[in-house]
């Protein structure tokens, strides 16, 4: 399944709902979306990954790139993910210590960074 992206705003946060597969072919589309949001002044992002079916290290690189960009503006990037097969790659790369990972969008929006 190809990558799908939808965005919406809740309070001061922008929710990016990602679906499908994030790999070496589709990751540039997600990277462009994150760059566009930061360029447009959206510095507090929540990436909802509940509909992601596949994520590899290319996708991790894009998320880390997004995190670096929002941090440059004192912003935040939180992830929403409860899928064990997706969480596994965050765990084995040590990125669970880098990204705040929430169980729901509501939890992410309510979090204080």
């Amino acid at each position: 399944m190809d990558l799908t992206l939808q965005t919406r705003t809740e309070g001061d946060r922008t929710i990016v709902v990602v679906g499908g597969e994030i790999d070496v072919y589709t990751a540039p589309k997600l990277r462009e979306q994150l760059i566009d949001l930061v360029s447009g002044g959206q510095y507090h992002l929540v990436v909802d990954m509940e509909a992601v079916e596949f994520l590899d290290s290319t996708g991790l690189g894009v998320l880390v790139g997004g995190l670096k960009r929002v941090r440059a503006h004192e912003g935040s990037l939180r992830l929403v993910c409860t899928q064990e097969r997706i969480l596994k790659i965050f765990r084995i790369t040590g990125l669970t210590k880098v990204f705040p990972i929430d169980a729901s969008v509501e939890e992410a929006v309510a979090a204080t960074d």
Partner: protein, 142 residues
């Protein structure tokens, strides 16, 4: 012994095809579902790394993928013709944060492979690198 061989033109769009073929061959061979999920990710990482090296160094040759099973296990071999590399002790977090391009960091792919698969060999030679991944298969009924 069953065998599936795939020659991938070094384009990112084909990496998904490699994952799908690898998963289908693994399921047919009887690999446990938990291992199939690991194979999907590991094969994707190895192919992404190989394709990225071919693209970065303008190597037009295909990336070769071989999936074969025997009574003891399933072996997936990915062979590239890029500059030879070896497994490193790269910390993925350091590598990802140190990268300026956001996209594939080959060292991270190798680090993921090493963490994900118990039986992995990375074999560089003068023509490129072969990554060999191996999983056990359940005993077959007599």
């Amino acid at each position: 012994m069953a065998q599936v061989e795939l020659l991938l033109a070094p384009l990112p769009v084909h990496v998904r095809t490699a994952r799908m073929v690898g998963v289908a061959a693994a399921r047919r061979a009887g690999l446990d579902d938990d291992y199939v999920a690991d194979l999907r990710l590991a094969l994707g990482e190895a192919c992404s790394r190989a394709v990225a090296l071919h693209v970065a160094h303008a190597v037009p040759d295909p990336v070769r993928i071989l999936v074969r099973d025997d009574p003891t296990g399933l072996t997936v071999t990915i062979t590239d013709r890029g500059p030879a590399t070896t497994a490193t002790s790269t910390d993925p977090v350091d590598a990802l944060f140190g990268d300026d391009g956001d996209l594939l960091v080959p060292d991270v792919a190798l680090a993921v492979l090493s963490s994900l698969v118990d039986d992995v060999e990375i074999l560089p030679d003068s023509t490129g690198t072969t990554v060999q991944l191996r999983w056990p298969l359940p005993p077959r009924p007599i």
